[in-house]
């Protein structure tokens, strides 16, 4: 269950940063991304997947969220 800081990159993409692992990856796709909620399964550009219960209303970035590894 890593703590993940998500921020908006210069190119508009969301950057998924795990401080403990010094991992910086872009988010490739988010399961639920609408005006009312954000979250579910998140896939990074390198293929790893994480899960977070959908947040409603969507959080404003940058923010730190706690993700689970998706099975």
């Amino acid at each position: 269950m890593p703590n993940v800081m998500i921020r908006v990159k210069d190119n508009g993409a969301l950057l998924f940063y795990i401080a403990k692992k010094d991992q910086e990856d872009e988010i490739a796709k988010v399961e639920k991304d609408s005006d009312t909620e954000w979250g579910g399964e998140v896939e990074l550009t390198d293929g790893t997947r994480y899960y977070i219960d959908p947040i409603s209303p969507p959080p404003s970035f940058p923010t730190t969220l706690r993700f689970k590894r998706a099975e």
Binding site: M5, R7, Y17, A19, D22, Q23, E24, D25, D46, P62, T63, T64
Partner: protein, 493 residues
Amino acid sequence: MSDMTREETEALIQEVLEVYPENAKKDRAKHLTVNDQEVEQSKKCITSNRKSLPGVMTIRGCAYAGSKGVVWGPIKDMIHISHGPVGCGQYSRAGRRNYYVGTTGINTFGTMNFTSDFQEKDIVFGGDKKLSKIMTEIEQLFPLNKGITVQSECPIGLIGDDIEAVSKKTSAEIEKPVVPVRCEGFRGVSQSLGHHIANDAVRDWVLHNRDGDNSFEATDYDVTIIGDYNIGGDAWSSRTLLEEMGLRVIAQWSGDGTLAEMENTPKAKLNLLHCYRSMNYISRHMEEKYGIPWMEYNFFGPTKIEEALRKIAAFFDETIQANAEKVIAKYKVEYEAVIAKYRPRLEGKRVMLYVGGLRPRHIIGAYEDLGMEVVGTGYEFAHNDDYDRTIKEMGNATLIYDDVTGYEFEEFVKKVKPDLIGSGIKEKYIFQKMGIPFRQMHSWDYSGPYHGYDGFAIFARDMDMTLNNPCWNKIQAPWLKGEEEAEAAAAGA
């Protein structure tokens, strides 16, 4: 490497790895790579931030070095106690050349060494009482200090002293911030974790101190310089450029910095991050908590400075953008003269770097401006995000080495035969004795500043001074030289 192909470089790495036993070879192979600009993510080709293996020579430092030596040490108006045995503080005292303004021992304490000088009895009975006592003493002797930090050395963590409790108690007594920093040397694999711990200590004990206080008048043009340690005056030569652009620098982290500047940083409009490795943590935190954007910039060499100034200006209105162009135009004459003078003397020379933090990638531009080429680079304590940023800066098929061992570095140098090496004091004399020009790129070899346009002129002069020094062809002993010449003559005949 212009004269080495990818295959040749790969073969070189294999050749160097040959002497290791099987396991060590497997491990070290992950840390050495041939640069490929196509690669997006460095983790596919290089492993970093791993523990150095016993038996190889590493050049890394410890968490204490990262916290006391790098992040906290330069804060000039605080007293940084090296809490533990005397050596750590004494051997790291003032070696980093963080310049500052002030009267040492009166209102600034940068080059002084404060230590609790642990003895056996402190290890056995604990050092909390002693810490409390020396802090009271410091307050009596140096009443103009603005606060105290407790930089833990290894024993503190081992014997389990409660420095947080002592700090809170003393802080209430002396009515100044006292910051306990848990940067025991054994933590982590290198000084990198020390930077992180120090950043976290700033976050937890300092940054929010003036949150409710609006007495500081902020303007729309407030920026901060983060991660510039003012080595040889670097932050000053950067600061002047920003001020000429019409920006106001309200804090310097941490070279020539003060506690008040750090506390006021949340009032800035933009955080300018020079050393990404050591201060990205706090920048990210401020972005999240206070909504202050941050950007990485590079003030080495005119090409990169120009890029950086434009990028910084883009955050502000048109006046600043116009000013940025004016600044660039103003210094153009100066740096063109520098390039005209030194480029012919340095053109085509090849450089190998092995430093820490940001320099292995940031300086590349400055060398290129002088017509030189960086053929190998590496970091002591970088993480993968640093290598992500490095791959783009380096040419294809150049060498990249992470936490290089003494042996590997020597062998690489023997094979690649660079014209100049930039690294630290521990490497300096080995390579000078091998007859290769060498500059210390940690302390600028007691010169500097190298940042900014003013710094570039000094940088160019220093590189020329080192490379074209007549001593380099006098390194070989005359009797050995005689043999070689005789052989050459014999071969010629």
